[in-house]
């Protein structure tokens, strides 16, 4: 999975971009990336060496940008799928604005769908009243999977300076602090759609991973957990295998949605 990719190069937001919070952190990276052309010419060929399928996470400021991104990436042989990020809280105007409205979300996905035969994962924002509405909307226009949750919009204030800690004022909250919200949303979305769910939000252990699978995730991802230890994903995988053995679970797929 690449970092968020946009049509044009993006310098990202001004620093500070990171604020620690209780059991989590706020970030406002702001989609710093070299733009889709450089991703295609530089990063993707470099990623090829690892022999894993490359999924490109795409963000746009308009529906047309999303379409254009999809069209360009459709013809890149190494690209195995697209993750359509309609949930980034760190860019103005675009990003999350699409993801908070079922019609907007469906429109983006429908138009992207028309431009590519690649599998489409749609990344959902938790900053909504009813996430199942959005999930159903994107399923109905051809999303192959949904991933959730992106970060929750949050803020921290430096009380000495009487200014927001982040130069961008608000940022996205993630890490263990948000896990209960993420698990709840996976549980709700699992009951609302038929397409598979990639679960994330605060996972730092194999037990956390199992919790997401029981809630309804078919796969999981780790974001902030990498900051405790860059090797955490490997450790979680190992511990997960041990856990499955101990519990006598033969196939991990058995877990998905098994929370009664």
């Amino acid at each position: 999975m690449t970092k968020g990719t946009t049509l044009e190069p993006k310098p990202g937001n001004e620093p500070p971009r990171i604020a620690e919070t209780p059991a989590g952190l706020l970030n406002s990276i702001g989609l710093q990336n070299p733009g889709v052309e450089k991703v295609i010419s530089g990063e993707i060929p470099w990623l090829r060496q690892f022999g894993v399928p490359v999924i490109v996470n795409i963000s746009g400021y308009s529906v047309a940008e999303f379409e254009e991104l999809a069209a360009r990436l459709d013809s890149v042989p190494e690209v195995a799928g697209l993750e359509v990020n309609i949930s980034c809280p760190n860019i103005k105007g675009g990003g999350m604005a699409f993801g908070t409205d079922p019609q907007g979300a469906a429109q983006v996905v429908k138009r992207v769908r028309a431009k590519t035969r690649l599998p489409l994962i749609v990344k959902l924002t938790p900053n909504v009243t009813d996430i199942t509405e959005i999930a159903r909307a994107v399923e109905s226009v051809g999303a192959d999977a949904v991933s959730l949750i992106n970060t929750l919009l949050g803020m921290a204030i430096d009380i000495k300076k009487r200014r927001p800690v982040l130069a961008n004022v608000m940022g996205g909250l993630s890490g263990p602090a948000v896990k209960p919200i993420a698990v709840r949303m996976v549980y709700q979305v699992y009951r609302a759609v038929k397409i598979p769910i990639i679960g994330m939000g605060g996972i730092v252990s194999a037990e956390d991973a199992v919790e997401f699978m029981l809630a309804g995730a078919k796969a999981i991802a780790i974001g902030a957990g990498n900051f405790i230890d860059p090797l955490l994903p490997l450790k979680v995988l190992e511990d997960l295998e041990d856990w499955l053995d101990r519990e006598g679970v033969k196939d991990i797929a058995e877990l998905t949605g098994q929370c009664q």
Binding site: G12, A23, L25, A224, F227
Partner: protein, 238 residues
């Protein structure tokens, strides 16, 4: 392991607790490297909850650290006379640098600044190594009363230097860069920024720079730094 690979100016990310709070690791510079014994030393100041927790660990207790990280200071064989300027806990990484530089009979000036005598780090150690140490404190309780920038001002007016290395609070670093620039002395500075991953992955620790092609962009303090050539930095908005 870390000691074998470490270079002066690099740092480690330290886990300060066994729980999820505080969540992020803390960047701490490598203060001293003993390759033979395989030991690195860290020196830190208690400022918030992470460093407070660190200060409570008992001798012999294991800490989870990641490192060495970052690029470290660099030097050329031709350098004869250099100044190391540190303020507050910015002094920490300079000791390892001094040790390295002195392996080649250089004249090493060390200018140290602190708020008070009590808060002054490592002055003895620099002297013992054979550095020429000058000190300033904000309250005059040791050395000259005032800022360490004044010490550099005086030094550059009296002798010529091949390189200035600077580390400390941002206002101080900006002052030092200005002095070095005026005299045309190359200057390397070690910067601080809030970090999440420490390994270049999250793009959290951005620092504005001027690219070689003249455009403006961000570099990562943890991976492209923490040591930067003063010429590429754009610290004006900071």
């Amino acid at each position: 392991m870390v000691a074998g690979e470490a270079k002066p100016g690099q740092f480690v990310m330290v886990r300060t607790s066994g729980t999820l709070e505080p969540f992020l690791n803390r960047p701490i510079s490598i203060h001293r490297i003993d390759e033979a014994k395989g030991i690195i030393e860290l020196v830190y100041q208690v400022v918030g909850k992470g460093t407070k927790l660190l200060s409570r660990i008992s001798p012999g207790q294991h800490l989870q650290i990641i490192g060495p990280l970052g690029n470290g200071f660099s030097w050329q064989t031709g350098f004869k006379r250099v100044a190391l300027v540190g303020g507050g806990c910015g002094i920490a990484p300079l000791l390892a640098l001094a040790e390295k530089l002195l392996e080649n009979e250089r004249e090493v000036y060390v200018l140290l600044g602190a708020q008070t005598k009590e808060k002054l780090l490592a002055a003895e150690e620099f002297s013992q190594l054979g550095c020429r140490v000058r000190i300033s404190t904000d309250d005059g309780s040791q050395g000259k009363k005032g800022f360490v920038t004044q010490l550099l001002e005086e030094l550059v007016n009296s002798i010529s230097l091949d390189q200035v290395y600077a580390c400390g609070p941002l206002p101080m670093v900006k002052g030092l860069i200005k002095i070095a620039e005026e005299k045309g002395i190359p200057c390397q500075v070690s910067l601080e920024e809030r970090m999440a991953c420490g390994v270049g992955a999250c793009l959290g620790c951005a620092c504005p720079v001027r690219n070689p092609d003249g455009t403006v962009g961000y570099k990562r303090v943890c991976h492209d730094g923490p040591v930067f050539d003063a010429k590429e930095l754009l610290l004006d908005n900071k």
